[in-house]
C-alpha cells in the first residue's frame, strides 16, 4: 500500500495533523505547516514530472499509479487510487494553495493550532478526493473536506459568521445528500445483471451497464450534488455569505480548491459514468450554468463588499467550468479544467489579498477605501494583477482558460449550444466592469480614509504567499499548451470513445 506514491498525498497531511497535535508553540505550528505543505508541493511536482515521463514512455492507460486495496470487501468497496493528467493538475493546484494558505494565516488568532488542524484536515479531504477512483472513498473524502469549513468559518470567521457557516455547511451537505443517493444508485447499476457490483470508476465506465432510464435519474442527482459545490445557479447562495465570513486562508482554500471538487466531481462522476444522460440532459444544466455565468457577473457589479464581489465572480467563473464540462467535447472540457486551475489560483490570490487588506483597514466596503495603491503598493499591484487575470488578460491564466472554453464550446454542432456560448462570452465584458470598478474605487483615486495612510505594506510571508500564486497564474497564462496537453491526454484516452467525440 505504501509503495504507491499517491497514498502519500493523504499520509503527509495526516502526519502534519499529528505534528500539529504535538506542537507546543506558534513556531512549531508554523514549521509543521510550512514543511508539510512544501513537501506536498514537492510531491506533486515530482508526480507531474514522473507522470509526463511515463506518458512519454508510451503509457496509454487511462489512469496511472493505479492501486486498489480492499476495504469493505463484501460490498467491493476499495480504497482505490489512480491519477491522470487532470487529477495531477488538481493535486498541484491544491498543494500550491495549501502552501499559500499556510503563509496567509501566519498570524492567525485565536487558537492557531486548532485552526491549522482543521485546515489540514480539510486538505486531507481534498487530496483524498483527487486521488480516489472509488466512488465511496471519493465521497467520503468529499465530505471530510466539507465539514471543517463549519468550524473554520464559525470560529475564525468575521461578520455574520454563524449564519454563514451554517448556511454553507447545510447547503453543501444538501448537495451531498443528492450525491449520496446518486452514488448508491450508480453502485447498484455498476455491473450487468449478476456481475460483481463495484464502486470503482474505471470498472463502472468499462461495464457501461447503467441503462438509460436510470441514467436519467442518477445523472441529475450526481450533477446537482456536485453542482452545489460548484456554485451552480440556483444553489450558489452559500458562496457569497460563506466566503464573506471565512478567514483568509479558508476563503482561499474553499474558493480555490473546494469549489473545484464540484467541477471535478461533475465531470469525473456524473459525465464520465453516465455519458448518454449527460448528452441528453445537458441542455437543462447548460441553461442553469449559462445563467450562473452571466448572473453571477451582473450581481458582482453592484456589490460593495470585496468578498461578495469576489464570491459572485466565483459563481460566474465556476459556472463557466460546469458550462464547459457540459459541452462534452475535448476542447471545451480541457478548457473547463484549465478554468478550474486558473480560477483556483486567481481567486485564492484575490482572497489572500482581500484578507490582507481587510487585516489592515478592518473594512471590506469598497466605499470606505480608496487610493490604496499609494499606501500599500505591493498589495495593490498584486490586486491589479489578480483582477487582470480574472478579466482574462492574455498572459495570465484566465485568458487561456476562457478562450479554450469559448472556442471549444463554439465547436459544438448544435445551434443551441453555440448561442449559449455567445451568451457566456458576454460575461467577459461584465467581468471587466466589476473588476475595474473595484480596482478603480479601491486602489486608485484619492485616499478616502486618512487613517489608512499609516498602514504598512505586505510582510514577507504575505509577499511569499501572493508571489507564489502570481507566478503560477502567469505560468499557466504563458505556457498554456503544457497544461492543455496534460489535460487533453485524458480526454483523448478515456473520453473519446465514450462520447464519440472527434
Amino acid at each position: 500500500m505504501f509503495s504507491n506514491v499517491l497514498i502519500y498525498f493523504v499520509v503527509i497531511p495526516l502526519i502534519m495533523l499529528l505534528g500539529l497535535a504535538l506542537s507546543r508553540n506558534m513556531k512549531q505550528i508554523r514549521t509543521v505547516a510550512v514543511v508539510g505543505s512544501s513537501a506536498l508541493i514537492a510531491l506533486s511536482v515530482w508526480l507531474l514530472v514522473d507522470y509526463l515521463q511515463l506518458r512519454a514512455a508510451g503509457e496509454t492507460a487511462e489512469m496511472l499509479y493505479v492501486g486498489s486495496w480492499a476495504w469493505f470487501k463484501p460490498l467491493n468497496i476499495n480504497l482505490a487510487v489512480g491519477v491522470d493528467g487532470i487529477s495531477i493538475a488538481m493535486l498541484l493546484l491544491s498543494s500550491i494553495i495549501v502552501f499559500a494558505g499556510s503563509f496567509a494565516s501566519w498570524k492567525i488568532e485565536p487558537l492557531p493550532r486548532q485552526f491549522f488542524l482543521w485546515l489540514i484536515l480539510l486538505s486531507v479531504g481534498v487530496f483524498g478526493f483527487f486521488i480516489s477512483i472509488d466512488l465511496f472513498t471519493m465521497f467520503m473524502f468529499y465530505e471530510v473536506a466539507l465539514i471543517p469549513m463549519y468550524l473554520l468559518i464559525g470560529v475564525w470567521g468575521s461578520g455574520n459568521k454563524e449564519y454563514s457557516a451554517m448556511k454553507l455547511t447545510l447547503m453543501l451537505m444538501g448537495g451531498s445528500a443528492f450525491l449520496m443517493l446518486g452514488i448508491i444508485g450508480i453502485y447498484y447499476h455498476s455491473a450487468p445483471e449478476g456481475g460483481q457490483l463495484t464502486m470503482n470508476l474505471l470498472e463502472i465506465s468499462r461495464n457501461a451497464s447503467i441503462d438509460k432510464g436510470w441514467q436519467y435519474f442518477l445523472f441529475p442527482m450526481t450533477f446537482v450534488g456536485f453542482g452545489v459545490l460548484g456554485a451552480m445557479f440556483p444553489f450558489h447562495t452559500w458562496s457569497p455569505d460563506g466566503h464573506a465570513s471565512a478567514p483568509t486562508a479558508v476563503s482561499m482554500l474553499h474558493a480555490g480548491v473546494l469549489m473545484k471538487l464540484g467541477g471535478y466531481g461533475c465531470f469525473r462522476v456524473a459525465i464520465y459514468l453516465m455519458p448518454e444522460a449527460a448528452n441528453d440532459l445537458a441542455w437543462i444544466f447548460l441553461i442553469l450554468t449559462g445563467i450562473s455565468v452571466v448572473y453571477g457577473a451582473f450581481s458582482a457589479c453592484v456589490q460593495t463588499d470585496l468578498k461578495y464581489i469576489n464570491a459572485y465572480s466565483s459563481v460566474s467563473h465556476c459556472g463557466l467550468v460546469l458550462f464547459a464540462i457540459l459541452m462534452l467535447n475535448t476542447t471545451a472540457m480541457t478548457g473547463a479544467i484549465m478554468q478550474m486551475l486558473s480560477h483556483g489560483l486567481m481567486t485564492a490570490l484575490f482572497f489572500a489579498l482581500i484578507g490582507m487588506i481587510y487585516g489592515r483597514t478592518h473594512t471590506r466596503d469598497i466605499r470606505q477605501m480608496g487610493g490604496l495603491m499609494k499606501i500599500m503598493p505591493f498589495l495593490a499591484v498584486c490586486y491589479v494583477i489578480a483582477g487582470m487575470a480574472s478579466l482574462g488578460l492574455p498572459g495570465l491564466s484566465g485568458f487561456v482558460a476562457e478562450m479554450t472554453i469559448f472556442v471549444g464550446s463554439f465547436q459544438h454542432t448544435d445551434m443551441f449550444h453555440r448561442v449559449f456560448t455567445i451568451v457566456a462570452c458576454c460575461s467577459i465584458v461584465i467581468t471587466a466592469v466589476y473588476i475595474l470598478r473595484v480596482v478603480g474605487k479601491l486602489l486608485f483615486g484619492p485616499v478616502q480614509d486618512e487613517h489608512h495612510r499609516t498602514l504598512t505594506d505586505a510582510t514577507w510571508w504575505e509577499r511569499l504567499s501572493t508571489i507564489t500564486l502570481i507566478i503560477c497564474v502567469a505560468a499557466i497564462g504563458c505556457f498554456p499548451n503544457f497544461f492543455s496537453d496534460l489535460i487533453k491526454f485524458t480526454f483523448n484516452t478515456s473520453f473519446a470513445q465514450l462520447l464519440g467525440m472527434n
Binding site: F72, P74, M140, M166, F178, I184, G185, Y187
Partner: protein, 486 residues
C-alpha cells in the same frame, strides 16, 4: 422434559448469573465492603461481555424449547453489541451511582438494569409471542422503576408515570394485536404463524393485527406517532438511565422488530408492511428532526435526535434483506458509541454542575476542551460525517435499503437524506454553542471522574475506529448472510 435445553441459552444464563451475583453481593455483603459493588459489577459485566465474544461461544445456531427460543451467531452478535453498550453505560454511570443520593440504591440500579437487559435478550431470541411479550415487559417495566430513580427531582417522577402508563397502554394494544394474530393462525410460534400467513390471503384482520403489533414494538423504538413519551421520559430520567433507554433499549427493539416483521410476517412484506414502514420512517425522521430543531435541554434534544435516528434504523428493516440487517446492526453498534459519547459528556457536566441546558455549553471548549471535543465527535458521528463511524453506518443503511431496488425506496432514501441536512443543523447547534458562541463559559474548568473519562475514551475510540476499520461491518454482513431470514 429435557432441562438440558436451558444450556442452549448460554448468554441468558450467563447474564442471570451476573445478575444473581450482583444481587447476592448487594444483599449479603457486609456494609463495609459495599463500596466495591460498582467495581464488582463493572468487572463482572466486563468479563461477561468478553466471554460473549469468545470463540468458545461458537457459531452455533441452536434452537430450544421446541423452537420457542433460538440463538444464532447474528443474535450473539447483537447481544454482544448490547453488552458493550451496557458496559459503557455502567462505567459512565459509576460516578452517578456512587453519588451521595444514589448510593443506597445503586445495587437495585444494577439489578434492574441487568434484568431489563435479560428482557431484551428474550425479545431478540424469542420465537414465541408469549416469550416475546414477557421479554418486552421485562425490558420495560423495571425501566419505569429506573426512570423514577431520581427521587429528588420531580421530573423523574413525572417521567416514570408517563413511561409506565404509556408502556402498559402500548402493551395492551400490542397484545390486542397478538390476540388477532392468534385468532387468525391459531398459534403463537413464529414459524407456525409465518407458514399460516404465507398461505392465507390478506385480510383486514391481519392488517389491523399487524398495525397493532407495529404500534406495540414501535412504542419501544419510539417511532412517530408512538413516540410522544420519549422526550419527556428522556428528559426526566436520570441521565444514566436515559442513555441506557436511548441506545440499548432502542437497539434491542429495533432488532426484535426486524425479526418479527421478517420472520413472522415476511410473506406479506410487499403487501402490507412495506408501505406501513415507509409512512412510519418518513414521519419518524421528519417529526423527530422538526422537534429537535428548537430544543434547549440537551437530554430532550438527544431524545428527539434519537427518534429520528430510529427512523434511519428502520430503513434497515424496510430493506428486508441481509444487507439491511447487517446495516441495522452496524447502525446500532455505531449509534451505541456515538450516543453514549454524547451522554457521557452530558453526564459528566451534569454530575459536576447539574446543568443540562444547551446554553450552558456556550464556550465550553475554553474551559473543557476534551469534553467539548468528545461532544463534537459524537455530534459529527450522529450527523453522519466522515471519517467518523456515523457516516459509514448511514451510508450502509442507505445502501442496504436501496438494494431493495424499487423507485419508491429511492424516494424514501432521498427524503431521509434530505432530513439528514435538518439533523445536521441541530447537531451543529451544539457544536456552535461549544465552539462558536462568544458568551463567557458557563461551566468552569473541571476534571471529570476517572470512570467517566474511561467511558468517553471507549466511545471516542469507537467513533473513530468503527468505520475506518472495516472488519466490524464485514463481519456483521457475513453473519447476516447466514441468518437465512429472507
Amino acid at each position: 422434559m429435557d432441562y438440558s435445553q436451558f444450556l442452549a441459552m448460554k448468554q441468558e444464563i450467563g447474564l442471570l448469573v451476573v445478575f444473581l451475583l450482583v444481587f447476592l453481593y448487594d444483599t449479603f455483603m457486609p456494609r463495609r465492603s459495599q463500596g466495591g459493588l460498582s467495581v464488582f459489577t463493572i468487572i463482572l459485566f466486563a468479563v461477561f461481555t468478553v466471554w460473549g465474544f469468545m470463540p468458545c461461544m461458537g457459531s452455533c445456531a441452536d434452537s430450544a424449547f421446541a423452537g420457542m427460543y433460538v440463538t444464532s451467531p447474528v443474535m450473539m452478535a447483537i447481544k454482544g453489541i448490547l453488552n458493550v453498550g451496557v458496559l459503557i453505560v455502567l462505567i459512565q454511570a459509576n460516578k452517578w451511582a456512587n453519588s451521595e443520593i444514589q448510593i443506597m440504591r445503586r445495587g437495585e440500579f444494577y439489578e434492574l438494569l441487568l434484568v431489563t437487559l435479560f428482557g431484551m435478550y428474550l425479545m431478540i431470541s424469542a420465537r414465541h409471542f408469549l416469550l416475546f411479550v414477557i421479554g418486552l415487559e421485562a425490558a420495560s417495566l423495571p425501566l419505569a422503576a429506573m426512570v423514577a430513580f431520581d427521587k429528588n427531582h420531580y421530573e423523574s417522577h413525572e417521567a416514570a408515570v408517563k413511561y409506565i402508563l404509556t408502556a402498559v397502554f402500548s402493551s395492551a394494544i400490542f397484545m390486542m394485536g397478538l390476540s388477532f394474530v392468534y385468532g387468525l393462525t391459531g398459534s403463537l410460534y413464529f414459524s407456525t404463524i409465518a407458514s399460516v400467513v404465507a398461505l392465507e390471503e390478506t385480510s383486514a384482520m391481519l392488517i389491523v393485527a399487524l398495525a397493532f403489533v407495529v404500534a406495540g414494538v414501535g412504542f419501544k423504538l419510539s417511532l412517530v406517532p408512538f413516540h410522544l413519551w420519549t422526550a419527556d421520559v428522556y428528559q426526566g430520567a436520570p441521565t444514566s438511565v436515559t442513555s441506557y433507554l436511548s441506545v440499548i433499549s432502542k437497539g434491542a427493539a429495533a432488532f426484535a422488530f426486524l425479526v418479527i416483521l421478517t420472520q413472522v410476517f415476511g410473506a406479506v412484506y410487499s403487501d402490507i408492511w412495506e408501505w406501513m414502514l415507509y409512512a412510519l420512517v418518513i414521519l419518524t425522521i421528519t417529526v423527530g428532526n422538526l422537534f429537535a430543531l428548537r430544543q434547549t435541554n440537551m437530554k430532550r434534544f438527544l431524545a428527539f435526535s434519537s427518534i429520528s435516528q430510529a427512523g434511519y434504523i428502520m430503513l434497515g428493516v424496510v430493506a428486508c434483506n441481509a444487507m439491511g440487517m447487517a446495516s441495522l446492526m452496524y447502525y446500532i453498534l455505531v449509534y451505541v458509541f456515538s450516543n453514549l459519547a454524547a451522554f457521557g459528556v452530558i453526564q459528566a457536566i451534569e454530575n459536576k454542575t447539574g446543568k443540562v441546558g444547551m446554553a450552558d455549553y456556550n464556550g465550553l471548549h475554553k474551559t473543557n476542551p476534551w469534553l467539548s471535543f468528545t461532544m463534537m465527535l459524537a455530534m459529527f458521528s450522529l450527523a453522519g460525517i466522515p471519517p467518523f463511524a456515523g457516516f459509514f453506518s448511514k451510508f450502509f443503511i442507505f445502501t442496504g435499503a436501496i438494494a431493495q431496488g424499487s423507485i419508491a425506496i429511492y424516494v424514501l432514501v432521498l427524503i431521509a437524506l434530505i432530513n439528514t441536512i435538518v439533523s445536521l443543523f441541530y447537531y451543529l447547534l451544539v457544536v456552535k454553542a461549544m465552539y462558536i458562541n462568544p458568551e463567557q463559559p458557563v461551566v468552569g474548568a473541571f476534571r471529570s471522574a476517572c470512570s467517566e473519562r474511561i467511558g468517553m475514551w471507549i466511545c471516542v475510540a469507537g467513533i473513530i475506529g468503527l468505520g475506518i476499520v472495516s472488519c466490524f461491518y464485514d463481519h456483521l454482513l457475513e453473519l447476516s448472510g447466514t441468518f437465512g431470514l429472507f
